[in-house]
């Protein structure tokens, strides 16, 4: 809301502009900008145009002679066309620098000398209007500084009015706040209304068919008006608050809106069929053309201002073209009504129509302002457009407003604020804001809420009024005294922290991506068992690329990888830890199943840092190592099974399983087609792990198992097996031998003299008995049993 301090000062005495801004901000009306206008117009004076001729050498220019109050007329070349000889206009004299920075100098334009510049409103920094010269009142003496003549110097405040305070969306509203703060009185405008002729009630009838949507509809009739432009002072007022001047009658309604905050509407009474106003909801299939020229199909929830025959305005939102004030209008009907907020909001949203009127009605207009605003507007129209006001108000008022009463216990401010507030301070502050104390006793008092304070209905609301005025600085700083529960770190937080540390220790950087992606990106990651289900989709996404909730983090990471590679960052290790979204299981108390996922992508050199490392590219075992780092950090003993999901290379990928066989995730090289879809080369590896599965399998608290008291016996074993025999199977078979404490694979060899299709696996085996020193004989026997088991079970041959 833009507030003109010049205008505001008509209703309340003001301190300096910066102080006004500071005080308003301090009570909850944040002043976002303080703009000084009409400054720097020192060299601009009023000038009368004495003569105007066409420029001899330029089609679009004129040569004028003007009286700038200096005796000798001046010659000025001008490009505008909107003036007549005799008009008074602003002249920027030679030497002036205009607010836009233009410096005025003596100039020759197409061979004709010019001693200054005639200005538009925009050139003076007064408004955006650059359509022609700013035409001033002819009564202004030439030579008068324009800033003085127009009272142009003003300070405009951009005030952020929160949605709960529609009462402050006007100059009177802000004046009330300032008056309450400073202990001043508000000077309300007192319209001098002179009524004449037959009663208004004979000119128009008003009927409300939907009282639940319209509690009151009051109208006045002004006859014999002459539609014309507004006087400059009015146009300036509106423009300074960002409202365009249209005509005297329309401007009068807007002026009252900005002054008193109550939206009004003016109809051409002669266009109101049957001279009857009906406030009703729209009929099925009904349409209306609004002032913006659009035809709108209405719904039965939309409230209309109609005449005998048809709808003529969307109530409280926008007028209709048929009943619009036009140049020929002579009889004006002024509407001042109170519409229920929620209905206005629904209509405004349904039709995408946000107006000054709907903005105020949907927040809650002041029911006490219906009649004062109507009177003010009628008087103004009669004054500006020369009509007479018909006696009386046609007032349909099916639902009178009753001021709510709110009780405040004297102890409540201290209970809520932690600081005592004296009773007389409570009464003074609330009284200043218009809350009238009714019944008062030892326990508390009951306050009548002023009609404009639609936001106040609870005791706490009154406490806020008190503290808002008093200032939060008056409240001390304490810490809550009561003991809290023992703060528990949930298991998933510990799992998360350890997983992060493990991956960061392995050189991964954490990525954070949007939770929504393009639907096509998720296709390769779909769970085959739920293939029929779409991902959860947004109704109103930003774009198709951000339209569905991701079911895996991998596609986002692949996009990140691709982007980084385009920036020539080719060694990429990224992980993300976030939720993925799937439809909720039956009986859920939340709309979707949101589970954590830990995903990573890696590509480039195994050791990207420098001179001491080789250029070896990352391979499957590096990706697996990253997963193992996470699993080890969580105390999870995993199994590996060839072949991950469809998004992975079928030969170079694995499924990760917990010790109990429950799936934990997948790891491997991207499927070449998926890589291509993300514009990635071959050799990009990725993994994803289920957060929930990790939490279930994690063993965060280690168990101490004792230190062996007897020495171990070490034996190496080299066996030749068929290519398809997995190392895991060989190791598992070795570990079946009870005396084996541990077995590790230290070499895999293919090539002569090993026959094609076979490989040599070299294992280091550690034997130990928990209760005695193992003899060589016992170890040899165990070793022999292992060899026999490998031969029998896996077709292994001992390598000589």
């Amino acid at each position: 809301m833009r507030i003109s301090l010049k205008w505001l000062s008509e209703y309340v005495d003001l301190p300096a502009p910066d102080e006004v801004a500071r005080r308003l901000t301090a009570v909850g009306f944040e002043v976002e900008a303080v703009e000084r206008v009409g400054q720097g117009l020192a060299g601009v004076v009023a000038a009368r145009i004495l003569a105007s001729e066409k420029h001899p050498n330029a089609e679009k220019l004129s040569v004028t002679r003007i009286d700038a109050g200096k005796g000798e007329p001046l010659q000025i070349v001008c490009g505008a066309k909107n003036y007549q000889v005799g008009d008074v206009v602003p002249l920027a004299t030679v030497g002036t620098t205009l607010p836009g920075g233009t410096k005025i100098e003596k100039a020759k334009l197409r061979g004709v000398e010019s001693f200054g510049m005639l200005c538009s409103a925009r050139e003076l920094g007064l408004s955006e209007d650059a359509s022609g010269l700013l035409i001033l009142d002819r009564g202004i003496a030439p030579g008068t500084p324009v800033a003085d003549a127009l009272g142009l110097e003003d300070v405009l405040l951009e005030v952020n009015v929160t949605p709960n305070r529609p009462d402050a969306l006007s100059h009177i509203g802000i004046a009330r706040e300032i008056a309450a703060l400073l202990g001043h009185q508000v000077r309300l405008p007192r319209p001098a209304l002179r009524e004449a002729g037959a009663p208004a009630a004979e000119a128009v009838k008003v009927r409300i068919e939907a009282p639940e949507k319209c509690a009151r509809y009051a109208a006045r009739v002004v006859e014999g008006v002459k539609i014309g432009p507004s006087p400059l002072w009015l146009a300036r007022r509106l423009e300074s608050c960002g409202v365009r001047s249209i005509s005297n009658v329309v401007d009068a309604t807007n002026f009252v809106l900005l002054e008193l905050g109550h939206p009004l509407h003016a109809f051409d009474l002669d266009q109101v069929a049957g001279h009857e106003i009906v406030v009703r909801t729209a009929r099925p299939g009904e349409k209306i053309v609004t002032l913006d020229g659009k035809e709108r199909a209405l719904e039965p929830d939309d409230l209309l201002i109609a005449d005998r025959d048809r709808g003529s305005a969307l109530a409280g939102v926008m007028g209709g073209g048929d009943s619009e004030i036009s140049a020929g209008t002579t009889r004006v009907l002024i509407e001042s009504a109170w519409f229920a907020p929620s209905g206005i909001r629904r209509t405004s949203r349904r039709h995408g129509l946000k107006t000054e009127a709907s903005y105020r009605f949907e927040r809650g207009a002041d029911p006490g302002m219906v009649i004062p605003a109507l009177d003010r507007c009628a008087a103004l129209i009669a004054e500006l457009a020369g009509g007479t006001v018909r006696p009386g108000i046609v007032d349909a008022h099916p639902r009178p407003h009753h001021a709510p009463e709110v009780r405040l216990r004297w102890r409540r401010p201290a209970e809520l604020l932690g600081v005592d507030v004296a009773r007389d301070e409570v009464l003074r502050v609330l009284g200043g804001l218009g809350f009238e104390a009714r019944a008062s006793d030892a326990d508390g008092a009951t306050f009548a809420v002023p009609s404009w304070r639609v936001d106040v209905s609870l005791e706490e609301d009154l406490v806020e009024e008190i503290v808002r005025t008093k200032g939060y600085d008056a409240i001390p700083e304490t810490l809550p005294a009561n003991a809290a529960r023992t703060p528990v770190e949930p298991a998933d937080a510990q799992v998360t922290a350890r997983a992060r540390e493990a991956l960061e220790g392995a050189g991964f950087a954490e990525a954070v991506n949007f939770s929504f992606v393009a639907e096509r990106e998720l296709a390769p990651f779909a769970d085959p068992s739920a293939a029929a289900l779409r991902p959860i989709a947004l109704k109103n996404p930003i774009s198709a690329d951000l339209a569905v909730m991701r079911t895996s983090l991998v596609p986002s990471l692949l996009r990140n990888t691709s982007t980084n590679r385009r920036q020539r960052v080719e060694d990429v290790r990224l992980y993300e830890l976030a939720r993925v979204y799937r439809p909720a299981p039956a009986g859920s108390d939340v709309p979707a199943a949101e589970e954590g996922e830990l995903a990573g992508v890696l590509v480039g050199r195994r050791n990207p840092t420098g001179w001491a490392a080789g250029p070896d590219p990352i391979d499957f075992n590096d990706a697996k190592a990253a997963v193992v780092a996470v699993l080890e950090a969580l105390g999870i003993d995993a199994r590996w099974r060839a072949r991950g999901g469809a998004w992975l290379h079928p030969r170079l990928s694995a499924e990760v399983l917990g010790a109990d066989g429950a799936p934990l995730g997948e790891v491997g090289e991207l499927h070449p087609r998926v890589a291509a879809a993300f514009e990635l080369p071959r050799g990009v590896f990725a993994f994803r792990l289920s957060g929930a599965a990790l939490v279930r399998s994690a063993r965060l608290v280690p168990r101490y198992g004792g230190i062996p008291r007897f020495p171990a016996v070490l034996r190496d074993l080299a066996v030749v097996v068929a290519e398809e025999v997995e190392a895991g199977a060989v190791l598992a078979s070795v570990r079946e031998e009870p005396l084996v404490e541990d077995a590790t694979l230290f070499d895999v060899y293919r090539g002569p003299p090993i026959p094609a299709g076979k490989k040599n696996l070299a294992l280091a085996i550690r034997y130990r008995a928990p209760d005695r020193t193992l003899t060589d004989t016992e170890a040899d026997a165990a070793h022999a049993r292992i060899v026999a088991r490998l031969r029998g079970g896996l077709g292994a041959e001992l390598r000589g």
């Binding site: 810490l479 809550p480 991506n513 949007f514 989709a537 980084n564 979204y581």
Partner: protein, 370 residues
């Protein structure tokens, strides 16, 4: 006998001279073989002992042992001297090129600044006794709005542009009602109160939130940390003290806080909380480097706080009675405060990040700076 003793004496003398002048380990080894080896000089002398009468042998043997001990000691000495000289030579050589980059065991990883800021904020509140709570991001309208005193058709809904979810894609398991992406972490207040059932409630909830607004200064997804404290006798003074303590812990000991009245439908009274600018120290001006400047040019405008000296970083207030009721708490008996902050902004102020979009581009050249 005298002959043998003379030979031993000569051997010892020869050894003293030869070992004293040995130049390296090889020469020393040769000398050991020459004097003490199986075919060496000492063995040769001892072989002559067989011809001596028995009573003379002990005397010669004694001398022979003494000579062997002496030669061995001489050899050990010489070896020590040579080793020392060799070590000296090694230590005196030129240093290696220590400026070569160290060989990395593994490259260092990086935690996203949003995660870092979230962890820092959470750690501060953990010290104040707050537990971390969480709630769904895909949320029912009721929790996100209605329970927080924002009914349908309420203009406060305009404060947050909302993403709505296509209910047909949620499957049959979802509860009935309009579903959206939470626009703030505040619905967790309701869920936490309902879950805990009894006071005290002291939770913070960090998490992702969503608003349908995407330009240079708005991201459709961003992060908030919500806080809630409910108990008997909780006051606005407690809120002030808590957030002042937090601000000092996060921004530094000298940080001041300022509360301004504001409106959030789920608190009453409500406030916006400013902290003194962490960049300019609350003065609104920054020193201009370059020494002797006139006073009017020695400082420049602080762009972070726009010369106000204050940064708006938190929204807060006393929990609205309707919100307490919706969480299952009797507002006549209990009171509480709530607050919320934007993590992106907190991280920007801490790390000097100047563009919101950097957070979600995941450019490694950005991530690697953390």
């Amino acid at each position: 006998m005298a002959d043998l003793l003379g030979q031993l004496e000569a051997l010892a003398k020869g050894a003293r001279e030869a070992i004293g002048s040995a130049a390296d380990e090889k020469a020393l080894e040769d000398l050991r073989v020459r004097f003490l080896g199986k075919k060496g000089e000492l063995s040769a002398v001892l072989r002559g002992m067989g011809a001596l009468p028995a009573e003379e042998r002990p005397r010669v043997g004694e001398v022979a042992n003494r000579v062997r001990d002496e030669v061995e000691a001489l050899l050990a000495d010489a070896k020590g001297r040579l080793d020392a000289r060799k070590l000296e030579a090694e230590l005196a050589g030129p240093p290696i090129d220590v400026t070569l980059p160290g060989r990395r065991l593994l490259p260092r990883g990086h935690r996203h600044p949003i995660t870092r800021a979230t962890e820092d904020i959470s750690a501060i509140f953990a010290r104040l006794g707050y537990e971390v709570a969480s709630g769904p991001e895909i949320e029912l309208d009721w929790f996100n709005f209605e329970a927080l005193n924002i009914p349908p058709d309420h203009p406060a809904r305009d404060m947050q542009d909302t993403f709505y979810v296509e209910v047909s894609t949620l499957g049959d398991g979802a509860p009935d009602g309009s579903v959206l992406l939470r626009t703030h972490t505040s619905p967790v207040q309701i869920r936490a109160m309902q879950r805990l059932g009894v006071p005290p409630v002291r939770i913070i909830c960090p998490g992702r939130v969503y608003r349908s607004d995407y330009d240079q200064t708005h991201s459709p997804m961003f992060h908030q940390v919500e806080g809630l404290c409910v108990d008997e006798g909780i006051t606005f003074a407690d809120l002030k003290g808590t957030l002042a303590a937090f601000a000092r812990a996060y921004f530094g000991e000298g940080t001041r806080t300022r509360f301004r009245p504001s409106y959030f439908p789920f608190v009453e009274p409500g406030a916006e909380v400013d902290v003194s600018c962490s960049i300019c120290g609350g003065t609104g001006r920054l020193p201009v480097p370059g020494g002797q400047l006139p006073p009017d040019r020695a400082t420049r405008r602080c762009g972070t706080c726009k010369e106000t000296g204050w940064l708006e970083v938190l929204g807060a207030g006393m929990v609205h009675p309707k919100v307490l009721e919706n969480g299952g708490f009797d507002p006549k008996r209990y009171s509480g405060f709530a607050f919320g902050m934007g993590v992106e902004r907190m991280a920007m102020l801490r790390y000097g990040i100047d563009d919101l979009r950097l957070y979600f581009e995941n450019d490694l050249r950005f991530l690697e700076q953390f």
